[in-house]
């Protein structure tokens, strides 16, 4: 019975609030996005296609997609493990770890980028060591992966934690008493209920990583065909005055993000989990 609303006969006050909110959303969110889409579509589908498949743009898109994809998968595993540790164990520093997981939400992405430059840039200790061993991190693709790992980390953890918390350890204990080893217990008893949450968190992490700008633009070097991601490519196009191509590529990115978001919500709705 939680949270069901009363079928209100809306008074004048309620209607005013409702109209106000709708107007705010329409003006602030809908209209700008419509302008973006409209601009991207001027020139018709052929222009749109040309803008999206321009070699640099396409390469940026591929880079963006695979880096976001890999990080999402890594986050799925690490995030689940972290959620597990946070929920099932008590240890000194647990609340600090929990706070740390939320850190990417509090810290500006640009500061994240600066941190990475300081840590791995060519003038840093680690940077020099890495270069000495033939590995480039800053101004190379590994920096993108690191940046994305940091900023998209919380999503899986936050998605899985509440589900894990609701789970009854009794089931796990029952499986153990019936002779199941730790691995079997994990795969057959513990994993299935949290799979939707993992999926949803991973997709949110992916959508977030797709649009990442601040941390990458500072540390990746933005080298076309090598470390230029779509958001940074967009930035370049806008600064060069090519708003049309920028808008076209934006539509594509928007589409991908929206589809991902819908997928995540769909999964959640299927299972009826509350979003934290």
């Amino acid at each position: 019975m939680n949270g069901t609303s009363v079928a209100v006969n809306p008074g004048r006050g309620s209607l005013a609030v409702r109209s106000g909110v709708i107007a705010y959303v329409a003006l602030l969110i809908v209209i700008p996005l419509m302008a973006l889409i409209a601009r991207g579509l001027t020139g018709g589908p052929s222009q749109l296609w040309a803008a999206i498949t321009a070699p640099v743009a396409l390469n940026a898109l591929t880079l963006t997609l695979w880096t976001a994809g890999i990080m999402s998968i890594i986050n799925a595993v690490m995030g689940t493990a972290t959620a597990w540790v946070l929920v099932r164990y008590r240890f000194p520093g647990r609340s600090i770890l929990s706070a740390l997981v939320d850190l990417p939400f509090a810290i500006p992405t640009l500061v994240t980028g600066v941190m990475l430059v300081i840590l791995f840039g060519p003038q840093s200790l680690m940077g020099k060591w890495l270069i000495g061993h033939g590995m480039k991190v800053a101004f190379a693709s590994p920096s993108i992966l690191l940046a994305l790992m940091f900023i998209s980390l919380p999503f899986v953890v936050r998605a899985v934690e509440p589900v894990l918390m609701e789970q009854d350890p009794a089931e796990e204990e029952a499986a153990r008493t019936l002779g199941a080893g730790p691995f079997t217990t994990f795969v057959r008893v513990l994993l299935p209920p949290i799979i939707p949450a993992i999926l949803s968190g991973t997709i949110q992490s992916f959508a977030r990583a797709l649009g990442e700008f601040g941390s990458i633009v500072v540390v990746s070097g933005n080298i076309p065909y090598r470390t230029l991601t779509s958001p940074v490519y967009l930035f370049g196009e806008i600064e060069s005055g090519r708003s049309d191509t920028a808008a076209a590529v934006s539509i594509l990115l928007l589409l991908i993000a929206l589809i991902s978001n819908f997928a995540a919500r769909g999964v959640l709705r299927l299972v009826g989990v509350n979003r934290a």
């Binding site: 939680n2 949270g3 069901t4 609303s5 009363v6 209100v8 006050g13 609030v17 409702r18 106000g20 909110v21 602030l28 969110i29 209209i31 700008p32 996005l33 302008a35 973006l36 690490m78 520093g93 770890l97 929990s98 706070a99 740390l100 939320d102 850190l103 939400f105 810290i107 500006p108 992405t109 640009l110 500061v111 994240t112 600066v114 941190m115 990475l116 300081i118 840590l119 790992m149 940091f150 980390l153 959508a207 649009g211 990442e212 700008f213 601040g214 500072v218 958001p231 967009l234 930035f235 806008i238 708003s243 920028a246 808008a247 934006s250 928007l254 929206l258 991902s260 978001n261 509350n274």
Partner: protein, 251 residues
């Protein structure tokens, strides 16, 4: 895993202080830096108030009302989270910039939105929109309507019910959402860069200040500002965790 998160932070602190304390003091007297910081704080305050109010109202409307198009509204609210910040800047640029839909209107009033303060406000409001709404909505959903109904049957007016029953109940969810809003607003970079142009002394926020400083090879200034923002983030984080803790206690 904590290493991944703490190590970079430590590095910033070390690097920012590596030139000694004097650069730090100098930085605090740099007019541009101070202006940038002030601008960021003002934007955060505006976002806090505007999206806080709309957030509470919107959460009430979304969770407690039933009307045609409610589901659609629900989807719209999450849109800012799906949009890359640079795209946000572009979208507003298209409306208010040269050749934009509202350009004639703005010209006649003599208002400038792009590369000016109003543009920064709009960009910040856009990117911070969902947070308060979602957090308050979550609490409203979890709490249900029993207390409000009780107040109603006891003869309280809708406004009094809201003021004396609903509002106190949602305060930690609201607080959590507000801190998220402030954090996101301080951290906003891509949209304000594109829409504001990062003009020193006019549309340069704390984040775009860092970016400009890096571009001009003024690393010390950049690192120090980054440190300031990092410290602010940590404080916000502490507040965030506290609010979350209080909220979970009450639910």
């Amino acid at each position: 895993m904590g290493v991944i998160l703490l190590l970079p932070l430590g590095a910033v602190i070390v690097r920012a202080l590596s030139g000694g304390v004097q650069p730090l003091i100098d930085a605090f007297h740099d007019a541009n830096a101070l202006h940038g910081l002030k601008l960021s704080v003002i934007l955060a305050a505006i976002a806090l108030v505007a999206n806080g109010i709309v957030g509470v109202g919107g959460a009430m409307v979304l969770i407690r009302h039933r009307f045609f198009g409610r589901r659609f509204l629900d989807t719209l609210i999450d849109l800012p989270l799906a949009v890359s910040p640079v795209m946000t800047g572009l979208a507003f640029l298209l409306i208010f910039g040269r050749g934009g839909w509202f350009e004639p209107l703005l010209d006649s009033i003599g208002w400038k939105v792009t590369f000016a303060f109003p543009g920064l406000v709009l960009a910040t409001l856009f990117v911070t929109f969902p947070f308060t709404l979602r957090e308050v909505g979550y609490v409203l959903e979890e709490l249900g309507t029993t207390e409000e109904e009780a107040a109603s049957t006891l003869g309280a007016s809708p406004w009094n019910t809201f003021r004396l029953v609903t509002l106190p109940n949602i305060r930690y969810g609201l607080g959590y959402g507000i801190i998220l809003t402030v954090a996101r607003s301080l951290g906003e970079f891509g949209a304000v860069l594109v829409l504001g142009g990062a003009i020193s002394g006019k549309t340069e926020t704390a984040t775009t200040f860092i970016y400009n400083a890096l571009e001009e090879r003024q690393e010390a200034a950049a690192y120090i500002m980054a440190l300031v923002l990092a410290v602010a983030s940590i404080l916000l984080l502490v507040g965030l965790e506290w609010m979350k803790h209080q909220r979970n206690k009450e639910l």
